[in-house]
Symmetry: C2
Subunit: 553 residues, 2 copies
C-alpha cells in the first residue's frame, strides 16, 4: 500500500483574535481556502479601516488553490475576498445567500469572470484529494454551514460559526444527522467555533427575542426604533412580523440594512409581509403609533443611522419624547463604551431605550458551553482545535474538550500561521508561518506600516511641533528666525513661554553648530531636534513629536 500523503491545515486568521478568519487545507499540492474575512481595528489601530489576513503563503502557492469555500456571509468571513481574488483565480463556493452577499461585495472589484458555485448543503463535492461534505448550522445569519473534509487519512471537521437552535426562524435546524454520521465514521480533528466558550449553559433560541420584541411593541404608544445587525436576517424577519401583527409600518435607515434586506428578499430568505415597508420619507405623515424604524448602529458606530439620531444629526429622524428605542444586539468586545454613549444620548433626547443588559432583546449566534459539548459528543474527534476566539476563549474551549474526555495532549491551542500536519491518526504542529498584520486604510489598496501607526499613537497622545528655520550654509548664519507648526500640543500660558524658549534654543543650537563648522542642513536639524525635545520635556513633561526643517537658501 502506498504511503498516504499528509494533510496540512493552516489557519491564517481567527486564532489569535475574533475576526479575519481564513483557514488553508492543503493535500497533494492542492489547496482549499476556507473563509476570507476582515477584522475590525482595535483602539490602538488609529485611523485604520480594517485588518485582513496576511495572504503571503496563499499568494506564493496561488497555482495550487482549487477552491475558496465560504461558510457564511459575515464580514469576518467574506470581507477579505476583494483583496484575495485580485491575485488568486479560483472558484468561490458558498450557499445561496452567502453567494448573494459576496456578489454585492465584489461588484466593485476590478476582477472580472469570477466563478461562483452554489453549495447545496445536502450534497457534498469532490475537489482534488478532498470530498467535502456540508452540514447546516444555525447562526446569526441564515445559510451558514460547517464542513467535513473526507480524506484518505480521515475526516477533518470545520464547524463554521454555529449555535444550536431547536426551532430556528427559517425552520432549518443544525444537521445533527450528518454530524452524527461523520462522528460514527470517525473524526481525526475538529476545528470548533469557540467564540462563546466562556458562556455556561445553552445559547437561547432566536425565537425568544421575538417574544420580548412583541411585549415591547404591545406597550409602546409612540414610534419604535429597532437597531440590529444589517445581516441578521432572522432578527429582521421577526421585527417585520411583529410590526405587521401590530399594524405598524417599517421604514429602513442605513445603507447596509437596505442592501441586505433587498438581497435577502430577492433570494427568498426574508419574507416581508405585504405593504409593511414604507420609505423613510413617509414617516412624518404617519401616526406615531404606526411607525417602526429599522436601523443600523447597534454597535454605536459613529457614522451609523442610530448614532446620528442620538446626536440629533439624522436627516430624517428626530428623536421625540417617548420614542421607544430597542438595541437588539450585544456589544462586540471593544464597543461597550460607544454603545453606552449612544444609549445615554438617546435617553437625553427623551427616548425610552431598551438594551441587552436590562431587557432580553438579543441572543447570541454562537454556541455556549453545552452546545460545544454537544458538537464534541456527536463528532468524538481525536484532536480538538478551538478556533474563532481570543486566547481566553480558546482556553475555555479546551477545558470543555477535556471535560468531554479528550486526551489533554490532543487539544491544540494553535496560533495564526500554525501549520497543523495530519496523518492517519496523527496531528501535530509542524511549523509556524511568520505573519504580518495587514492594515487597510484610505483607498484600501495599500497597507499602513507599523511605523505609521506608532506615529499616529504618538501624535494622538502629545501632538507635533514642526520648527522651520532658513539658514545660509555658506555664510553660516540664520537667514530667518524660526517659525512653528503646532498641532495637538497643549497650549497654555506656561507653554507660550516654552515656545519662546524653543525659539532661543533653536537659534543657539544652530549657532553652536555653525561654530563647530556644522552647516549641513540635516545635521543641524538633528542637533536642534535633540535639544528641543529635551527642553520641552523638562519644562512641561510632555513628549510631542518634534521635527525641525532647516532650509538652506
Amino acid at each position: 500500500m502506498p504511503k498516504k500523503s499528509s494533510l496540512k491545515v493552516i489557519p491564517l486568521g481567527g486564532l489569535n483574535e475574533v475576526g479575519k478568519n481564513l483557514t488553508i487545507f492543503e493535500k497533494d499540492n492542492q489547496m482549499i481556502v476556507v473563509d476570507c474575512g476582515i477584522m475590525f481595528p482595535d483602539d490602538e489601530m488609529l485611523g485604520i479601516d480594517f485588518v485582513i489576513p496576511d495572504f503571503t503563503y496563499v499568494l506564493k502557492n496561488k497555482h495550487k488553490v482549487k477552491a475558496i469555500i465560504i461558510t457564511h456571509g459575515h464580514e469576518d468571513h467574506i470581507g477579505g475576498l476583494p483583496f484575495l481574488i485580485k491575485e488568486v483565480k479560483a472558484p468561490i463556493y458558498a450557499t445561496k445567500l452567502t453567494l448573494g452577499l459576496i456578489k454585492i461585495k465584489l461588484s466593485n472589484a476590478s476582477q472580472k469572470n469570477l466563478n461562483f458555485i452554489e453549495i447545496n448543503p445536502r450534497k457534498g463535492i469532490e475537489i482534488g484529494p478532498f470530498f467535502i461534505d456540508f452540514f447546516r448550522v444555525n447562526h446569526s445569519i441564515p445559510d451558514g454551514i460547517g464542513l467535513i473534509f473526507k480524506t484518505d487519512i480521515g475526516n477533518v471537521v470545520h464547524s463554521g460559526d454555529f449555535k444550536i437552535d431547536q426551532s430556528p426562524i427559517d425552520g432549518k435546524v443544525t444537521d445533527f444527522s450528518k454530524i452524527a454520521r461523520a462522528g460514527d465514521e470517525g473524526v481525526l480533528a475538529l476545528f470548533c467555533d469557540s467564540t462563546n466558550a466562556e458562556e455556561t449553559g445553552y445559547t437561547l433560541p432566536e425565537r425568544d427575542v421575538g417574544k420580548t420584541l412583541k411585549e415591547k411593541f404591545i406597550r409602546a404608544d409612540k414610534r419604535i426604533i429597532v437597531a440590529t445587525f444589517a445581516s441578521h436576517i432572522h432578527r429582521i424577519q421577526q421585527i417585520m412580523d411583529v410590526a405587521h401583527q401590530m399594524g405598524r409600518k417599517v421604514a429602513i435607515s442605513g445603507r447596509s440594512m437596505l442592501k441586505t434586506i433587498r438581497i435577502s428578499s430577492e433570494l427568498g430568505y426574508l419574507k416581508v409581509p405585504e405593504d409593511t415597508i414604507i420609505p423613510i420619507t413617509k414617516i412624518d405623515e404617519m401616526p406615531v403609533k404606526k411607525v417602526v424604524i429599522l436601523s443600523t448602529g447597534s454597535q454605536g458606530e459613529p457614522l451609523s443611522a442610530l448614532n446620528k439620531m442620538a446626536l440629533g444629526e439624522h436627516n430624517r429622524v428626530q428623536i421625540m419624547k417617548g420614542d421607544v428605542v430597542i438595541i437588539s444586539a450585544s456589544p462586540i468586545p471593544g464597543n461597550e463604551k460607544a454603545i453606552s454613549n449612544t444609549i445615554n444620548m438617546l435617553i437625553n433626547q427623551g427616548a425610552d431605550v431598551f438594551y441587552e443588559s436590562i431587557a432580553g432583546v438579543h441572543v447570541s449566534g454562537h454556541a455556549a458551553q453545552e452546545e460545544i459539548k454537544m458538537m464534541i459528543g456527536l463528532l468524538k474527534p481525536k484532536y480538538f482545535i478551538p478556533i474563532h476566539g481570543e486566547n481566553k476563549h480558546k482556553t475555555q474551549s479546551a477545558v470543555i474538550a477535556e471535560e468531554m474526555g479528550l486526551d489533554k495532549k490532543n487539544i491544540m491551542i494553535a496560533q495564526n500561521g500554525s501549520i497543523l500536519k495530519m496523518n492517519t491518526n496523527l496531528c501535530r504542529v509542524s511549523g509556524l508561518l511568520n505573519l504580518k498584520t495587514i492594515y487597510i486604510d484610505g483607498i484600501g489598496t495599500g497597507n499602513v506600516e507599523d511605523m505609521v501607526l506608532k506615529d499616529r499613537r504618538h501624535l494622538s497622545r502629545d501632538g507635533i511641533i514642526v520648527a522651520v528655520l532658513a539658514i545660509d550654509e555658506a555664510g553660516k548664519k540664520i537667514v530667518k528666525d524660526p517659525d512653528f507648526v503646532l498641532k495637538g500640543v497643549i497650549y497654555i500660558d506656561d507653554f507660550k513661554k516654552v515656545v519662546k524658549d524653543c525659539r532661543n534654543i533653536i537659534i543657539s543650537s544652530a549657532q553652536r553648530a555653525f561654530d563647530q563648522d556644522i552647516t549641513n542642513a540635516a545635521t543641524v536639524e538633528q542637533y536642534i531636534n535633540e535639544n528641543l525635545e529635551k527642553h520641552i520635556f523638562k519644562k512641561v513633561r510632555i513628549r510631542p513629536i518634534v521635527s525641525t526643517k532647516v532650509i538652506s537658501v
Copy 2:
C-alpha cells in the same frame, strides 16, 4: 415666623457620567463642597490624563466655602482636591482612612497649612446653617460614609457610594439605625448612588470572594498572582489572610499598591498577618508553591505591574507555565478590551488565568436594585435624585424609585450643573450652570482645549503633512523647492507619487499666487493648503492635516 432660606444643591460632576464627583450644598451664603474627584478619560480624549470638575462656580464663591467633606477615598471622589485647594481655603473633613489617603495625595501640593478634620461617623457636626450627620456605608474601600444634611427646611441625604453588606470584612455594617431614624424624621430629598442600578437583586457580599480565592489557592501548585484595585483594602485583607492560611508569602508589585498597603496598615485598616509580606526581590528564592504576588493592573492599564508581566517586561516577575493569575476586579466600562488583551497575553505566556466572567473572583462595591430599594424604603424621601451614573443608570434608578411608590414628578434626572433649589417640602430645578470639560494633561497645571483634542483625533486618524517653502517676496519667486514633514500618513507606492504631485502643486500654486501679485507669506500658505488638501483627498481618499509654512527670505 421669618421665611426660611432655601437650600441650593448643585452637582458639578458625577451626574452625566461615572466620575469626577462633586456636589455643592449652599444655604445662607454658606457653602459645603461634598467630594472632589476626577474622571478617567474616554477613547475620544486622546492623550488626556484625566478630567476634573469645572470649579468656576466654587471659585467665584470661594469665600462662602466652609467645608470640603469627602465621603470616601477613591480617586473619583478625592482626585480633584489638589486643583481645588490651590484656590479654596476650607477645612477638609473625612474619616480616618480617607484622610490618610487625601494626605498622601496632597503631599506634593504646594499648598501649606491645610486643615484636616477627622470625621467620627457616630458624631454629627455643625457647620453654619447645617447640622451634618453621618452614616457608615459598605463599599469597595473601607471607611465610606453617607451624609444627612439636617436643615430647617428638612433632611437632605447624600448616599455616598454604597452597597449593603451584612457581614463586611471589617465588621462595620451599613448604619441602618441612623438611616431609619432620618427616614422617621422625614427626608426631603435623597441623592442616591445609581452606578449599579442596572443590576437586579443584591450585590454579593465581599466574603464570597474570599471563599472563591481560597478554592483557587488550594488548587494552585505554582505561584499565584492576584491583581486587584490598590484601594480595595478588604480584598487585600482577604488575599493576605488566605495566603497566610495556605503558608504562602505575599510580594507586592505596583507603586499605588505599596502605598495603600502602607497607609492602611499604619492606620489599622489592614491587618497583615505576621511574616506574610516579603520583598519582591525575594520571590525567586522561594519555592513556587509558597509565593503570592499581589499586583496592580486589574484594569489592563498599559503601565501597570500586571500588564508588564503579560508583556514579559516586568523587571522582577517572569510569567512561568502554570502560574495562576487571578484578576480580582471587574472591568470599568471602556476597559473591557484592554483587560482582554492582558488576559490573552498572560495565557500566551503559559499562565492559568481566572477572571470575572469565568470565576467568582470579584463582587461589586455598589448597590444593586434591591439595595437601592432598601435605601429608599428606609429613608422614604419625597424627592429622589439619582447620582453617580450615566443617563442609562439614572433612568433605571428612577424606574426603581417609581416602583417604590415615589411620585414620578418628584424623581429628578438632573444634569451636571443643575441648580436644585429646595424649600420646605419642595424641590425644583431652578437653573443650570454652563460647565466646561476641564482636561488635565502633562504637568497638569493647564487644561487642554477642545481644539487641541480635535487636532489629536484628526492626527490619530490620518496624520499630518507639513510642507515648507522658501520664497523671495520682492522677487516673486521660489527660492527653494518645497520640502515635507510627514507623520502618521499612509506611505505606499501610490502615495510616493502623490508626494511628487504635491511638490508640483505647491510650486504651481505659489507661482499662480505670484502672478496675481500675491506675495504675502500667510496668503500664499492658505492658497497652497487648499489646493494640497483637495489634491490629496482626490488621489488617496484620506484627509491628513495639511499645513504649509512659507518662509519669506
